[in-house]
Amino acid sequence: MSSDHHDSKLAHHFDDLEQQFDANKFGMWVFLLTEILFFSGLFVAYATYRSNHPDVFQYASQFLDTNLGAVNTAVLLLSSFTAAWAVRAVQLGQKNLVTTLLGITVLCACGFMAIKYMEYSHKYHEGLLWGNAEHSIFKENTADVASSVREHGHHWGDVKDLDPEFRRQTGIFFGIYFCLTGLHGIHVLLGIILMLWLMRRNMRGDFSPEKYDAVDCGALYWHLVDLIWIFLFPLLYLIS
């Protein structure tokens, strides 16, 4: 590529489109590294508590709905596939296909969030929350558990006879569960906004087989969000 055609797609401080594409993609990879380290703090907390209380984690994990988790894994994998396909499509200049594929990605992401919402609200009603939450059944002192939760929580019977220290640690498991999946959920929401923005730009005709770095970077981000879930699912749901 030559630097002769200084067109509008090329920012003034780059020599040519190739340099610009390289820089953007490189920057995205560096950002993804940051993201991994961002999650790592929570993974360290997870590892610390799991190695100290493996039995607690095994016990607590059974309260998570493996089926919903598995469906969500499948949904995210599909969305990652469509995101990757969208990159291929934009390289081939198939503008309408790109819009469709990004649209499917967004729909999958929304589906993921809907299922997540079902899981969260179910846990809230059951009182499967961290120990200090008002609605939690894992309080150290069973007398502190709200009477409404005691009546409606289906798991109350299993939990109330546990050793108080074990119950407290189960509360910590749910603290970590909500922090990890909550932070991941925020990333999915950001991904939805990102994909909608890419769709809009695509329909406006911003992308071409020569200039598609935004789609490429957006897809990279989405793969990372997917990848983190791939780790979260077995670590949280499949302990046995």
Partner: protein, 558 residues
């Protein structure tokens, strides 16, 4: 701002608030960072003076115990998050890095602007925290104190979180810039050493800062929702916070000192008019420090109850940091050997740092040592140690660097005699302030104490007098710089005779930095640059006249 520059430059080509606030120009962003750090330095410095005056004699002199606790917390938070961390990387780095690479801008100008805006938002949040209940946790936010105190921890934590992302984006930008925007001919080992230092710094920023981010978010989650991960009452572990915190905050110390080391390499070479000694060793030692910095955090937890084995491992790893640091110092001193040394403000700062970093770095040997740290941990010995490193080394290098690049930034020369004089005063004041604190520490005075036994009184009095000296000197240094904007002589493009690329463009540079692509060569070969008195600066001489052999070699290479 500058009455001397008649031609169009980056300072005068656009005017008005918006042209600065919304600018994408790395030079303007660098300047705004610089002014912001100066303002924050005055704020954090006045906190420090209040603290020192409170400690002038035992008992209450000036403020109450709680106000004192707020003051030392805010002094630490402001100085670290708003001054030192953005000082050299964001202020000088933004201005100088693209110029050194002969580039028009950093790789992502919009992200660069976002960084600055995040920094401002974070600063506003910190101020908001001060106004809505203050902050008395210490800048380390140790749990469970930080989750149980009734001050504005949540707002402050969000402020630090946002500033953290500002730092991450700056690091990301610099890494991409150094990888992808070097000019043809500038290989990695033809980069100026400041670029190596900024690169190593950026690696730390992007990898360590997010861990601080998540630790701070968890404190907020703990306070707002009571998640309990750090709360012993709920079965959590407060020491886990210390691990996460120091996983960032120890590397953060190198975010402060590594770029300072980069600046020092430039200063020693330029003002000795000599090629830097041991280029590759200095470059590699920056990378070595960055890597090792990630695996030494546990030396902050020798007495936190971590097991003896873990402490031993961390002690051994910590000691390895001494090696690359020593290599750098030896090479700087060797650079002066057979040089032609001019005592500009920049050089006087750099030589001060040899002394100050000598003390700050070598006292690290006591802190890393398992036997002595048990006595010295959390005492005034530590306070003095890290002030020698973070202020004595990092901020003195920053001010040295500001003087060095001032002519490039504004196209004017500052008053050399005054700059040098006040730098020496601040150096003396610094020693007066912090040398007695080592003694306070070994003799038994813990840090963060509002009150102390009269046996420590005379040491505290000396320390307070020294602090007043620093305060005056720093104020006068700023005043001298400020005055030069109005009265300073016009600066030539290369007043110091340095060979790095930023001195090839105009002073101040045009909006796009270089009118023609700069000639890339050895960044420390100053033999082809000579002083021209009619220009009041240095100009490149024709290499063929100087040494015909070079011409021959270059033509065959081409």
């Amino acid at each position: 701002m500058n009455t001397h520059a008649s031609s169009v430059n980056y300072l005068n080509h656009e005017t008005g608030f918006k042209s600065w606030f919304m600018t994408l120009d790395h030079k303007r962003l660098g300047l705004m960072y610089m002014w912001s750090t100066f303002a924050a330095m005055l704020l954090g410095g006045s906190f420090a003076l209040l603290l020192r005056f409170e400690l002038f004699s035992p008992g209450k002199d000036l403020v109450s115990k709680d106000v004192y606790n707020h003051l030392f917390t805010l002094h630490g938070a402001v100085m670290i998050f708003l001054v030192i961390i953005p000082s050299i990387p964001a202020a000088l780095g933004n201005f100088v890095l693209p110029l050194m690479l002969g580039a028009k801008d950093v790789a992502f100008p919009k992200i660069n602007r976002l960084s600055y805006h995040l920094y401002l938002i974070g600063a506003v949040l910190l101020v908001l925290a001060i106004l809505t209940g203050g902050l008395d946790t210490g800048w380390t936010f140790y749990t469970p104190y930080s989750t149980s105190t009734d001050t504005s921890v949540v707002i402050a934590v969000f402020g630090a979180f946002v500033i953290g992302f500002s730092s991450i984006f700056t690091g990301l930008n610099f890494i991409a810039t150094i990888h992808k925007m070097r000019p043809p001919g500038m290989t990695w080992f033809k980069m100026p050493l400041l670029c190596w230092a900024l690169y190593a710094t950026s690696v730390i920023q992007i990898l360590a800062t997010p861990v601080l981010g998540i630790a701070l978010l968890l404190i907020a989650a703990e306070r707002i929702m009571g998640v309990g991960i750090f709360d012993p009452a709920l079965g959590g572990d407060p020491v886990l916070f210390q691990h996460l915190f120091w996983f960032y905050s120890h590397p953060a110390v190198y975010v402060m000192i590594l770029p300072a080391m980069g600046v020092l390499s430039e200063l020693f070479s330029t003002y000795s008019r000599k090629h830097i000694f041991g280029y590759s060793f200095i470059a590699y030692s920056s990378i070595a420090i960055a890597i090792v910095s990630f695996i030494v955090w546990g030396h902050h937890l020798y007495v936190s109850g971590q097991s003896a084995l873990v402490s031993i491992i961390f002690s051994a790893l910590t000691y390895t940091v001494a090696i690359p640091s020593a290599i750098k110092v030896f090479n700087w001193v060797a650079t002066m050997y057979k040089g032609s040394i001019s005592f500009t403000t920049g050089m006087v700062s750099a030589m001060s740092v040899i002394w100050l970093f000598g003390i700050g770095g070598l006292t690290g040997l006591w802190m890393a040592n398992l036997s002595t740290d048990m006595h010295l941990h959390d005492t005034y010995f530590v306070v003095s140690h890290f002030h020698f490193v973070m202020v004595g080394s990092a901020l003195f290098s920053y001010l040295g660097g500001v003087h060095h690049w001032w002519p490039k930034m504004f196209g004017v020369m500052y008053d050399e005699a005054k700059g040098r004089f006040w730098t020496i005063v601040s150096f003396l004041g610094f020693n007066l302030t912090f040398l007695p604190q080592f003694l306070m520490g070994t003799r038994g005075m813990p840090r963060r104490y509002f009150d102390y036994h009269p046996q420590y009184e005379y040491l505290n009095k000396i320390s307070t007098i020294g602090a007043a000296m620093i305060g005056l000197a720093v104020f006068m240094i700023f005043w001298n710089l400020w005055r030069s904007l109005k009265t300073g002589k016009k600066a030539s493009p290369n007043p110091w005779g340095a060979a790095t690329l930023e001195w090839q463009c105009a002073s101040p540079p045009t909006p796009h930095n270089f009118d023609e692509a700069p000639a890339v060569g050895d960044p420390y070969d100053m033999s082809l640059i000579q002083f021209k008195s009619d220009e009041e600066g240095y100009l490149p001489i024709n290499p063929c006249e100087h040494d015909p052999l070079i011409c021959k070699v270059e033509s065959t290479e081409a």
